[in-house]
Structure formats: C-alpha cells, structure tokens
Symmetry: D2
Subunit: 435 residues, 4 copies
C-alpha cells in the first residue's frame, strides 16, 4: 500500500511488454477493458467520499495521514503528470500550482508542499478538486479511446489505476483516523444490519517442508516492481496457523499483563509502548470493551480478528503465544496453498472472519528489502517503491479496506514497525514440530 | 484581545452596578439598546465568515490560532454557559458535548478539548454550528426581552458581546494566517477600488511633563477588569511620536542590517530571530517588496504603518532608531490627549494611516501585570484576564481588525513577545529632551 | 545574579568616576584595598571547589547550569579580556582558544562555544584552568600594583570582582543541582554540627503608607547599572510580612491540594506544573519529608524558610494564602527599613532563619525591566544586564550562597519564572488594611 | 559489537557444553588459559584509559555514547552480577547502588539509571571505579582458581570477557566522539612515527556461484547466540570487490554532487542527510581535506579506506558507483574464502589498508534479524542480542578498534542505519556478470 509517511510503494511488471507482441486487435480489446476499469475505479474514489462533507475531506489528523481531498487530487495529478503531460504533445496542466501541491514524494518531479501541512489546504476547494478529476478523466478517456493508444499508455494507465486503488485504501484508513480524533467519534458509515456473524473456525497448524521455493510474481497480470524478480529461496520446515489471531485471544494477552512485561517486547517496541503509554490496540476502549470502527464505536467481538496492531504489538503477542511471525516467504507459500476463494468477498468495512486475503494486513517477520536481482525502473516511477526499502516491515494479505481485485499472494505492503492506523493484524507461525 | 494561545483577556467593570439603582424604565431602555447591539454584533460575526467556505472555516494553521468555525461556536457557548445555563432554571444545553469542544480555557468550567486539535473538528459541521448560533440567539432574545431581565443578565450580556468582538478580531487574524499558509496565498476579500491614499503626515515629537497621573478606566461605559482600578502613577517627563512607524522606515532598518546585529536585540529576541530565521516581518516578501494582506499579496506602501511585528522586532527597531517603546501609561496619556476622532474610521482591512486607535495594535514596553489594587472577579470570569499576567507584553490602540466601538484609550491587549500574527506595530517614545 | 540560561546580569555605577577627582594618594589607598579584595575574592572561588573532584567540576546537569570548572575559567577570561587585553598594550592571551570556550554571552566579543555543551569540555583540564587563574592573577596584580593604575582599571576590576562573586553563587547552585542529579545524592559538604536552631519568630504585618518614594541605588559604593538611575516611584499603601514563608507553611499548601487546583496558578504556571509533573519544590522528597541540600538529604525543618521555588509556585502560594508577592519597589522599601544587621551573617549553606538579606532570594511580582531613564553602558558591558530585560522576574535579597558583602537593598537579581534551581523563596505582601 | 543506544548484541554458543564431558584435567587446563585471558583482557581495558584524565573518562557526548568510566564500571558489574552474585552463595555486592547505576539494558536485572544521564555521574569517581574493578577481579580469580570451577563459571566468564572486549571497542569509539566534540580537537594518542604507508592494491571483482551455502557459526570456539544456528541459505551468483572503498573514491562521490542528489539516497537517508546538514563523513573537514582520528586531525589519505559512514551514506555511495552493498551471507562467504591472515594485524588506531577483518566494520544490505531456528537463551542473557532485532543493519568485519582475537567471519555487529560514530565503511558487491 502506498504509504503516507516515510511511505510504501507499488509498481508495474515488465510483463506488460507482452503488449508489444500482441496484435492490434488484442490491444484494442485490452483498451476497452481498461476504459471500463478506469471509469469504475475512478468512480469508486468518488463513492468513498460520498458520506463525507467538504470539511471532513480537508482534515489531516497526523503527518502520516492525508486529507481525503488530497488523495482525490493527488491520484489525478498522478495521471496528469505521468501520462497526460509525459505522453501528450502540448498538453497544458490544468493548474500549474497543482504540481507543487499534489506531488507526494517524487523528487524527480520537483519541489512539493510540506506533507504535514496538507490539512491547511482549504483551497483548492473540494468542488475544484472534483472538477479537476473530471478534466483529467476527460483527457484520459480521449487518450485511451484513441486509435493510437500505445502500449506505454496502457501500461502507465494500469499503474495509475493500481496507484488510485492504493490511495482508496489510504483514504479510508486516514479518514477513519481523522474521525476517531474527534471526541464525538462519528461513524464513517452506518453499520449494515445484516453483517454475517463470525464463523468460529478452530485454529490448526499447517506444515510446510524444507526446500527451495520460488518466491515473487511471475506470469500474467499486473504486479509492482517490488514483487519481482521471481527468485529461489530456501526455507526450513515451518508451520503456519490456519486462522488470524482474534480479539478474544489478544484480550487474554492484555489481561495476562502483556503490555507490562518488557521481556515480551523488542527493545524499540518497549520504548514505543512506554512513550505512547499504549495499553491496548489503537482503537480499543478497554473500559467498555469496544473498539472504534468505520461504523463508530462497536462492542468488541471476541471471534473477529484483532486489527490496528503495530508490528511491535504483533511481535510481542507472538512471543507471548510461544510462536513467531511468519517471514514473508513463508506467508506467500501458505497463501498460495490455502487461500480461500475471494469471489465471495464480503463488503463490510471491519474484518469479521479469518482469511488469507482481503480481511487484514498481516505483519510478517521480514524487513522490507529488495528481492535478489531487483532493479528499480528508470525515471520517477523508480521512486515508487525502491527508496523505502529501509526501516519498514512487510505486511501481506490486503484488508477489508483494500479495493476489490487489488490484492494477490505476492503483494508486498510495508510500513514502519510503530504504524498502527492501518488495518493490520497477524497470523502465527512456528518452527516445524517433529511428527 | 482574548488571546488564543497562552492567551489574553478582557472584562467587565463594577460600573454596571449602577444598574441596580436606576428605575425600571431606565433598565428597559437599556435592554432595548442591548437587544439591538446583540443582534448587530452577532450578525457581524456571520458577515465575517461570508467570504469563506466551510473548508476555510475548519482550518487551524497553528496552536495559537483557532478555526473560524470554532470562534463561531465558542462565542455562542460563552452565552449559553455563562448566561443561559447560569441564569435560567431548567435550561438544557443544546448539545452536552459542546461544553467539552468549545470551552477555551476556563478550568472552572470543566475539561476541554486540546487546543492544538481544534482543526480536526470537522464535526459539528459549519451548518450545525450556525444552527447552534440560532438556537442560542433565540434563547438569548427571549431572556433579553423578558420583563424580568435582571441587571446581572444585562451585565453578562455586555461581557458576552465584548467577548464576541474580541473573537471577531481573532477570527480575522487567524483566517489571515491560515490563508497565508496556503502556497496559493488566496485573498480573504477583494481589495476595494477606492482605498484612500495614505496621508503623509510629518512625524513630530510631543512632550509630556513629569507628574502623578491617573491611569486606568473610570466613569461610565464598559471596560474589562484588567483596566481597573484607576490608580495614580508617577511618570518622568517623556515624549511620544505623533506617527506610527511606517513600512518605508522599517525597510531602512532591514537594509541597514537590523536583523543581523545582535546588539540591537534583546537576548530572547535574538534567539527567536535566529531560530525562526526571521529576516523581515511575518507577511513580507522582501524579493518582491510586497506583503500578504487580507486582500492577498499587495505591493508594500512605504507610507503605510508597518504591521505584524513581534515585540522583539518592535523593540529592536526602537533601539536602532535611538528611541524607546512607550510604557503603557505613557501611551495612555498620549492617546487621551491626541487621539483623532474615530467617527471617520475607515473600513479597510489593512492599515493605511497613522492613528492612536483602530489602525494598529502598538507594542508597549510594559509587561502585562495587575494594576495596584486589582482583584479578579469571582467565578469563571476571574479566569478571563488575571491568569495571563505573566510572560506577555501589553499592546494598545486596536486595529483595523478590531470591531467598531470596541477600542478605547484604557484598553489593554496582551500577547507573548514573539507573537506577530496579530496586527501589531509600534509608535516611538523617548526621554524628554531638554528644551 | 548573572544568570546562566537566558541569563541575568549585574553592573557598575558611574559613581566610580569620583576616582577621577580624588588625589593620587586616595587612589593608592583604594588600590591597596582592591588588591586585598582581589586576592580574597579570587581565593574564595578556589575554596568553593575544594570539596570537589576534577570529575565533579566538569559536570553540567542542564543547559541553564555550567560546570564549576567553566565558572573558574570564565571569570578569569572576564578579567583577561575586559581588563588585561583591553587596557594593556601588547598583552598576549594565555590561550587564544579560551576566548571561544569561555565567553558566556557577549556577542560583542565574538563567537562562542554552545552553552549546553560546556560539560563536554574535559580539556582544558581543571589543572590547566587553575594554572590559567594563576597567570591571570599574576598579570592583574602587576597592573593593580602599578603606580599608573588608572581609574578605569580600578573601576573595571571592581566590576570583575562583583562578576566573580555572582559566579561564586552560580557555582554553588549549579554544583548542587549536578550532585542532586546523581542518584547517590552526594553531599557537597558535611553539615556542621552546631547549626543554630531556627528562631521561631512570629510573623507580623508591617504597614507602609502611600506616597512617592525614591527607588534604586544612589550614593557611594558599587552597584550594577540596572539598579540605576535612582528615580521617583508612586506606591499605594501596602503591608509586608516580617517573615519569609516557611517549609511548614508550604507543606500545608501542598496538603491542602495546592498543586491540584488550577485556579491558584497563573496559566503559564499551571502548564509548567503539569508538564514538569511538579508536586512539591524541586529538591523535596515528600515521602520522607526531607530535602536535598548542600549537606545531602536532610529532614525538612518546618521553621526554616522554604526555598527552591519557581516564581509560579511562589505566586500560587501567595494566592492560596490570600496575599500577594511584593513588587520590587515595595520590597526595597521594606528592606531599607527593617533589614537586620548582616554583620552576624551565619556561614551555613542552607537557609535557617528569616531575614531580608542573605538567606533567600525572594521572588517579587515585578517583571525585570529598565528603570525610567536607564541606559546601558557602551561596549560589551552593555550586554551585562540590559539584554535580559524580558521574560524574567526580579528577585531580591541574596541567599546563603551569595558571597559576603555582595548583597544590598537595591540589588536586582532576575530569572525566568520557571527557574527553581536558584535559592529562591518568598515573603508575602498585601494591600494595606484599613485600621 | 554491543551497541550503546538502541543497542546491539552478541553472545555465547551452546558449544561450551562440551566442557561437561571433558575430563577434570582438561577443565583445569582450560581454566588456566581462562585466568590468563581474564587478566590480559581486564588489563587491556585499563590500558585504554591510560591516556585519559578522570575528566575525560566522565564525558558523555551523546545519548548513544557512554563515558569511559561507565564502560569500566559496567563491564565489572557484568561479572559481579552474572557470575559472582549468580553463582556464589552469600556473595555481597561491592556497592548495592551499582546495580542501578551500571546496568545497561537488562530489564530482567531491575531498574536502571537513564542512559542519557551517564555523563552526570561524577560519583563514584574514577578511582572508586578502578577500586571496584580490583575487588571484582580478586573475587573472580578466587572463583576461577577454585578446584570446583564449574562449566557454567567458565562459560559465563568467556561471555564476560567477550562482553568486555565489545566495550573496549565502544570505549574507543565513544571517547573519540567525546574528544571530537571539544573544539580543541585533542588527540586520544600521539600518532606513531612509523605507520606503514598504504599498499595500493588494485580493486578487482571476485565471483561466487549460485547455490545453497551454510551460513552462521559452527564448530569449536566462542560465538554469540545471534551467529547461530548454522543454517542453509540459497544465494544467486554474485561478485564482491577485493578492496574496501577508499577516501579518494568517496571524495569523488562528494565532488560529483553525491550529497545533493536525492535519487541516490533511500528516503529515510535523504531525510537524515537534510536534517543533519551532512555533506561529508562525520569526522571529515572538507575545507582542509583532513579528518579527525584518534591521533587528532590528520590529512586525508586517498588510499586509506573511508570510515565513519552511516548506512545511508554507504548505500548512496554504492548506488552512485553502480553497485550494491553485499548481504551479510554474501560477505560471510567472501570473508571465509579470501580473508588475509590476521596474525600480522597492525596496531594502529586508524584504518590504513584494505582487509576483510580488523580494519573497518563494513555495512551490509542485511537488516539485523534472527537466523532461522534461532532462540534466545533463557534469563537475562536472552536480552543480550535478541531484543535488538529490529531497525538495525548488520555490519561485518571488525575494525582497528576491535580488540585482537575478537573478530571472526560469522560475527554480526549491528547499528541503526544513521549511526556513523562507529568505525564503519563499506565494500562493494554486484550481481554476477555474465562471463
């Protein structure tokens, strides 16, 4: 997930180069689909701010988060700058000031507005930003509908759409945090009446044998640069749990004094816990055993997966449970083998059940690093992922805030270990038990 | 001016107690006038936000400043809490959460929302706050129209209206700062075409003889508690300048290296100047010789008074000019004797001419302290002014942002010496020259 | 007292200019006395570090404090720079690096080492600094013994000696704080066996009538520039307490919840109290009812004056007691009329009894400002006092740490209101009661 | 190297358990050697402070560093606490306060003094700490000479000696930083006259084929827990450079604008570089082309290895050079195959030549993590290494500050990526070139 603060990234694979060899007709078919996807994804962003006022969309609750309005503008600036301006002769920017205001972190694209001050931008107004989106969309659709739509256009548009999807998730996590900071604890949405009760599956361990495995993305379909190249990786025998860790289990950890025992925590984690005076997950209210969700404060459901943990909390829990966090390679193996069908993905805004994908981001034991042989792409897109490969931990899986179709087993999300405003939980691993 | 951050204050005089001895009819006449003033002053607040969007009204640019929406709500909460709830049997608060959200600094009135986080309050919305104003106004007018309107009601309403006027000025200074923080530098209002050219009066010195003078408020009319009691004060002979210091003069100070010479500055002032990397007044752009105003960026007018100085800058300028800042007692004497008629007050939003009142707040050499014999009033209003009598300097005069009728020669505004987002400039003093 | 942090100051009067008109013989007599005083005062500094190791002398416990070694070097640099180098043709500095290392705050005398890093200066060693003192002393004594000793030399030497005395007090307050920061709480000195028990005088109020009084220094004898010019000041009738506030009284304030009631505190004071989590004076241990002194931890003596209060604490106590802090003019009047004879001054290092002078610095209600007509002297000595006239409060009286002969009724010490590592307490004032 | 700040760690292997099965005589031989080693290593610590005064030994230049005196005391406390107190019935601590003062970071061993305040501990004095060392040594030698010396005693003593050696290196890096912070830039030692001139070997690339390799410690000899367990690791083909990067090469990077091009830096690295205003390695003076060393300021030698780089600088240099940092597994392979004989190790205090071991710590591309199957030892020693496995990068090789015999190919040092006061440089790697 493109991270806010020090940041995360995502990217495009060389696989799109197969476009070069397909026939003209195939490109045309591809374009048609892309136009539909473009319209659907761009419309989804608008749907996300539908429950929000212009005031809501302007709030920035912390430097790591951005206002909803900024997300709407930045994603449009991304299309305008990396596609319309880069590929179109004589294209004139909608507003020259936007390059300064809505560049996120691309040094190659010039100076930019200070990140912690995004919440001060009452101008341009939400209306103006929505108008900007329309202008960009019109220009993009002209390009995409052109008979001369190039492979590069299609490829960059694909990146732009995945980029927009990442910001859709960030928009949700950021507005959730902003509304939480309001003592009134307003809900983002009304909770649907018919939320499925949580199926209480019994946790079990699944064993994986030692061996050389292929890790990373290959084959058709979009992926970010940091998922490549696919490479061989040796793993010792290990076991993964079938279930995400749940609220009830995490509550036991708290009640057993988990936040009071330094020996359960990494040194930096203990410092963080003391400094933040953290005694429970970010959005929990221990007194009332309730938690803040996109639906406002709701009672803690013991069977639902615990979320909004920092890496430090996830790590301490695993140690307390006599287990480990999986490495990202281990997780990827597990996901490939056991993930449920995502077709039935529910559309709730708070995780209700255990799954490999699309419920919760799951912290892994792996620092975010380049895969062997990885090289960042040239140009500004080289900044998308590569420069964040330090001081961050990998998360896997996608969450209920991740847009449909945006997650996959090889997807690498990354955040600093203290981050907990993302929808992040954990799944346990352990060394293989002798049978 | 009720200050935002560490804060300022203002208050009511014991003179209102004369209400107790007037006949019933006089009270009635007084009430009628008060109702008209109430309506006019409350309407003026709404007029001030008329050029602003809901997004604009939500922005908080620094902990010292507050969002415009917050000012609108807080002033209403003040009426509701100190009058409607205090005097009316069975009054039910419009929204019980507002006591937490919109209390500024009254410890006696309970816990309150953290000041630096006021900009996060997208809820209640501007619409809801405007509705809150209407509800409070309706209830207030019922009270004021009652045949049993008490002296205390009239007295507290007078305080509430003066309080609202202070926040009208703060609203303007705060939104000016918020819009300035936007790199687009939007204007609060369009500059009127017919702004009078600045009359270039020649500065001259006016002499005052040594002696015992009466300082502070006396007689009829509203004043704050900190202007009392009137008391005797001995002054040595001194001289005051007839004019405010102007942009052109201040530019000479800059060009003479005023910001580079430590010997011109107080020790704390020099630290501030280094830390802030200050090289000109807050809103100046030296490259283009322009300044940010409520009308956006405009060319510096050499004959207009310099404004938005910190006390440190005013003090350094005075030292460079071989002069002094006047004490507040000296200033008060000068104002009483020489102030122009305010009836002709212009309605511009940027100072254009020299005057004692209603152009610029003028820094004095006086730390803000209690007058001899001063006692704060009992109850929450005792916090209005008294608790800020430390680490602040007195300003006198009122500015173009001060609402009409709100300034007077004895009025004491106060801010910490580093503050420069208020409309603050200076007038020079010096020891009396032997004739 | 020359302050450490933002700083304080002290200075010389123009009265020394009378030297110019006395006969050569009188100058010679004066010189002899000055040589004796020079030797005695310089020796006193060495006596102060006698109980300390070189390691002790190197410690800096906070930016406001300086290492003992630094005080020894700085006072020598002061003589070397302002006298030996300024007045002696061809004088070569002992070590050119010392100008950088041991300049305190004189911008006119060049760049200097960062104040918070003085504790990093293990070199020059204490031995080298003691050698430096000898070199400076030898050269000073040559000058003072010269038949051509000028009035300026005598005058500057007088300043240098008063300056050294100020640093003697600072050395004691700073090393007390440094040793206190060591969890072992080592004593600076062993407590003498025969400390006089505290005489329990009954507090009484003394009345002073309204009128014009002369305030500030006049007549013979040394004073600092900030004590001048003597000037007329009008005071209303007031009363001063005969006694300093005592530990037992202050303990009542604590036990009555004084640190928990916001209404007793200035706004800035309350912020300080919350931020520092202050619940008692700096050196108190409430659990054991003991306090840290130069003699280590000792039991609190209820009849001894309370010390190491910040202005905020002194102010809150006075409010709780239904009284006021005196202004510095009121205090000066009281001291002139009622001060005991200092001849019997005890030599303890912790205050044991009530007195106007030489027990405790007493916070006044007066911000530190220039007296009417005050002008700082030209040259570097102009920085001694004048540039600190902002954000500081005046203390009067001198303490048991003040060297003998260094205090007087007009002496103005000054520190920021949060300072409490100085030996500071209070004496109450109140408005004159009608008889 | 046991790190100071957030910290690093190192440890003991289970291999010592073989002691349990050797005959009594073998244990005795082992003990004799250990006694000799004990005496030699403890004496080496004293030799390191021989050029320093007590004042020098008390200085703490930053929270990450510790005073030399503290290192001397802490290493003794380590022996006293983990051996004398743990294994000896009825042992009485030399001073019960030392457990609080000289515990570094062991939560299991109780509360401790705040790390950033170690420089305030003028007491106990250096003399007292040296006496403490003697007391501990006497007691340790009694234990080691006992006929009942247990395997556990020998094992823990081995750990204590390795621990002491780590602090010997830290003592040198910390005192180097402390003396550097003194504007006088004093030398720790006089540079020996006969420093060998740098042999200018031509850099070349050495190729390693892809395959499964064994990584980590095995066999006889001491190692820390974090070097275990030995495990299989798959590596793609790669190349390592035969030489360390040199001052002359790094100067080219600077002159080519390396510190001005954001695209060469990791995102966190660029933030660090801007915040620190870093434009060259920590100890370099670009104006004079000299660098601060243990011998004071000396001219930069272009052929000597560049040192005192942060990970961010090493990473940026590698990117600029079109190369990579090696992973720690790659480095370990290279070291095993190519390291020179250490027998001829020079005894200079500044690196003069290229080598795998004992010249410079070399940053790797590997975040510090547990090896697969790693488990921390039980008890306080479990905190030695394991809790620091987050936010740190691995360095390999040892430096000229590392005590003789303390380095080995599997040794894992670790520091946060911004650290540059350690003797840290780099060696380049690259993907294997097709031949």
């Amino acid at each position: 997930m493109r991270k806010a603060g020090p940041a995360t990234g995502l990217f495009c694979t060389p696989r799109v180069s197969r476009f070069a060899i397909v026939s003209g007709e195939a490109t045309w078919v591809r374009t048609i689909n892309l136009i539909e996807r473009y319209q659907a994804i761009r419309a989804h962003s608008l749907a996300l701010v539908q429950p929000l006022s212009a005031e809501d969309c302007n709030v920035q609750s912390m430097p790591d988060a951005s206002p909803a309005k900024w997300h709407l503008a930045h994603t449009s600036w991304f299309f305008e700058t990396l596609i319309l301006q880069a590929l179109t002769e004589g294209y004139t920017a909608h507003d020259p000031a936007y390059a300064f205001l809505f560049n996120s972190y691309y040094n190659a694209l010039g100076e930019r507005h200070a990140r912690p001050q995004r919440g001060l931008l009452s101008r341009p107004s939400l209306d103006e930003v929505l108008r900007y989106r329309t202008v960009v969309d019109d220009a993009m659709l002209v390009q995409l509908s052109s008979t001369q739509a190039t492979t590069e256009l299609l490829h960059l548009t694909e990146i732009g759409l995945n980029h927009e999807q990442q910001h859709q998730e960030l928009l949700l996590t950021d507005i959730k945090h902003a509304l939480f900071c309001n003592p009134l604890r307003p809900a983002y949405r009304t909770e649907p009446a018919n939320i499925a009760t949580v199926a209480a599956n019994k946790p079990s361990w699944r064993r994986f044998e030692a061996g050389l495995y292929r890790i990373g993305h290959s084959g058709e379909g979009f992926c970010y640069d940091n998922e490549t190249p696919e490479h061989q990786h040796y793993l010792q025998a290990f076991e993964l749990n079938s279930q995400l860790v749940r609220n009830g289990e995490y509550l036991e950890f708290i009640q057993a004094g988990g936040y009071e025992q330094a020996e359960l925590w990494l040194s930096d984690g203990w410092d963080w816990r003391l400094q933040q005076q953290q005694t429970a997950p970010l959005y929990w209210d221990l007194d009332s055993l309730s938690e803040y969700t996109a639906y406002g404060m709701v009672a803690l459901r013991p069977e639902a997966p615990v979320c909004h943990l920092s890496f430090y909390e996830a790590d301490a829990y695993a140690r307390w449970a006599g287990a480990l966090l999986p490495t990202e390679a281990e997780w990827e193996l597990g996901c490939r083998q056991y993930r449920e069908d995502d077709a039935a993905a529910d559309t709730v805004l708070h995780p209700q059940r255990s799954a490999w994908l699309n419920q919760l981001w799951q912290w892994t034991a792996s620092p975010y690093q380049a895969y062997p042989g990885y090289r960042p792409p040239p140009g500004p897109l080289g900044e998308y992922n590569a420069k964040f490969m330090c001081n961050q931990m990998v998360l896997r899986g996608g969450s209920v805030f991740t847009p449909p179709g945006h997650s996959r087993p090889t997807y690498r999300n990354f955040f600093p270990p203290h981050s907990c405003w993302q929808m992040s939980g954990l799944r346990l691993a352990r060394d293989a038990q002798s049978s």
